[in-house]
Symmetry: C2
Subunit: 310 residues, 2 copies
Amino acid sequence: MDAFAIGVDLGGTNLRIAAVSADGTLLEKISSDTDVARGRDYVIDDMCRSISNLTNRFGASRRFTGIGIGVPGIIDLQTGMVCKAQNLPDWRNYPVKQEIERRLGTAVILENDANAACLGEKWLGAGMGVDDLCMLTLGTGVGGGMVLQKRIWHGMTGMAGELGHISVDPDGIVCGCGNQGCLEKHASATAVTAMARLMQLGEELSSREVFELAQLTGEAGEKARTIWRVVGEMLGIALATLINAFNFPLYLLSGGMLPAWEFFEPHMVRTVRERSFTFRATPNETHIAQATLGNEAGLYGAAYLPWIEK
Amino acid sequence: MDAFAIGVDLGGTNLRIAAVSADGTLLEKISSDTDVARGRDYVIDDMCRSISNLTNRFGASRRFTGIGIGVPGIIDLQTGMVCKAQNLPDWRNYPVKQEIERRLGTAVILENDANAACLGEKWLGAGMGVDDLCMLTLGTGVGGGMVLQKRIWHGMTGMAGELGHISVDPDGIVCGCGNQGCLEKHASATAVTAMARLMQLGEELSSREVFELAQLTGEAGEKARTIWRVVGEMLGIALATLINAFNFPLYLLSGGMLPAWEFFEPHMVRTVRERSFTFRATPNETHIAQATLGNEAGLYGAAYLPWIEK
C-alpha cells in the first residue's frame, strides 16, 4: 500500500495544501488565497477543512503518514507557538499547533517556511542527494534554512537558520532586528528598490523592473547593473562566512530575485572566491546554485516532514 | 576492565601525550618541546615512541580504545594530509596520518586542534552536558571549533569551523586568507598588539600587557580599555551572526586573552544583545562563557575522539 503525506504552505497571500506520495509525486493540490483579514480562526478552519478533504480522499487507498505545515514565522518548538510572523499579524503568541491539532484530532508538524523550502529542495530539487546544505530565499526579506545530515537544523529553540541577519556591513543599514547591515537590508528585493531610489532610477521599482533595466544600454542600465553588483557582493560576503563556518557542499539561492541571477552571480562568486579560502580550496566541491522548485519548494518540504521528523 | 585512550596535543611549541580513562581521569601525561627544527620525521618518531610507551604501560590492565591526535592545521579528512599548518612548516601536504599509522601499526584519528579543544570542553569542561556548541580560541589568531549533536562538525572536507574568518568588517584589515576584516584580524592577540601600536601605547605589547595597562587610571589605561572595548564589539558582531545562524545554547571562548575577560565581556555581550534578536529572545538559554580546561582542552578532546569517532 502506497503512503502519502499532507503538506501545507501557509503564506501571507496564498494557502496551498497538497497530498504527496512517498516518491514525491503530487497527488492533488488545493490552492486558495489566505484570507488574513478574516482572522486566524477563519484561516485555520479553512486550512483544516482542506486537509481533511485530502486525507479522506487518499486515506482509503493509501497509508497516511502525517501532516507538515510551513508557516512564515519563527516557531517555538517547545510550545508550538508562532513567535514572529510579519505577514500573519494576529498569529503571534497564539498556540497554532495546538489549535490545528484540536480541530483535526491528529498531530501536525509545524515548520518555518524557509526551512521547509530548503528541505523541499533537498528532497526533490537542487539539493537532491545532498545531506548538508543551506538556502537563502531572496524576497522582500532574506530567509534562511539549513539542512544538516538530512534534517532541518532547528537549533535550541527553533530559531536557527536566520541567515538573512548575518551582518554584511556592521555599520550598514539599521535592521528591524536591532542589527546593522543585515544581509536582508543589502540583498533583498526591498534593498534593490531602495538602492534604485537612491540612485534616482525610480521611486518604487520592483526588483523585476531593476532586472529589466539592467538589460539596457545607457546610464539607467549601468546604474541597474551596479545595483546587482552590490547585491552580488553582499551575498558573496555572507556566503564566504557561511562557507568558512560550515564547509557545506551546497548553498542554494531561491526567491523572486533569481531572474537577475546573470547580473549578480558573477559578482557573488568573485567575492566568495576572494574572501573564502575554504571555497578556493574546494573549487569543485563547493556549489552555489539556484533552487529549482520555485514556489513549490515549501509545499513539498512540508509534505516531506512527516517522513523524517516523526 | 577499564578502558583508556591516548590523546595527543601536537602544538608548534609543545607536544603533550596523555593516557586518559573513559571517565576523563588523566592516567599519565608526557610533555616535551616540539622540536620543529629537527623536522617532521623527528617529531613524529618522538611522538610515536611516547604513544607506544603509554599504550604498553596501560594496555596490560585496561582495554585500549584508540588514539586521537590534535594538530594545529586543517586536515583533509579524505587523505589524512595536513593542508594548512602555519606552525609546522614542513608538514604541509604530507601524509601525516599514514606515516603515524605506519610507525604504530594501528589506526589513529587526526583532528584539528581547535576542534579537539571544543570537544574536550564538551566532554569535561564548560560544555559538559551540552550537545551543540562552538568555541572561539583567542590566541595569535582566532581558532574555531564546532560540536554538533555531540560530535565535531567537520563539514564536507574537514574545513568547517573556521570561525576566525567570519568577516566582522568587510572593509577591514586584509587577512592572509584573502578576506577583509576577519574576526582574527580584529580580536586576536595579534590584533591587540597592532591596536596598541596604532594608539601609541607601545610597539610590541602583548595582550597580557595591554590587559595590565587596562587596570590603570590615566590615559594609558583609557586607551587599553578602548582596545578591549573594540575586541569585545568585534567578538559581539561575530557571535551575533553565529547565534542567528546556529541558535546554539553555548558559545565558548578560550585562549590567552581570557584574562582580559572583565574588560571585553561587557562590550561583547552588549553588542550581541543589540545585534541578535535570537539572543534577546533566548536570554536565559543562550550562554556565552569562558572555557574552563585551558591548555588541557585539546589534549582531553583528542583522547575523547576514539570513543566517539569510531
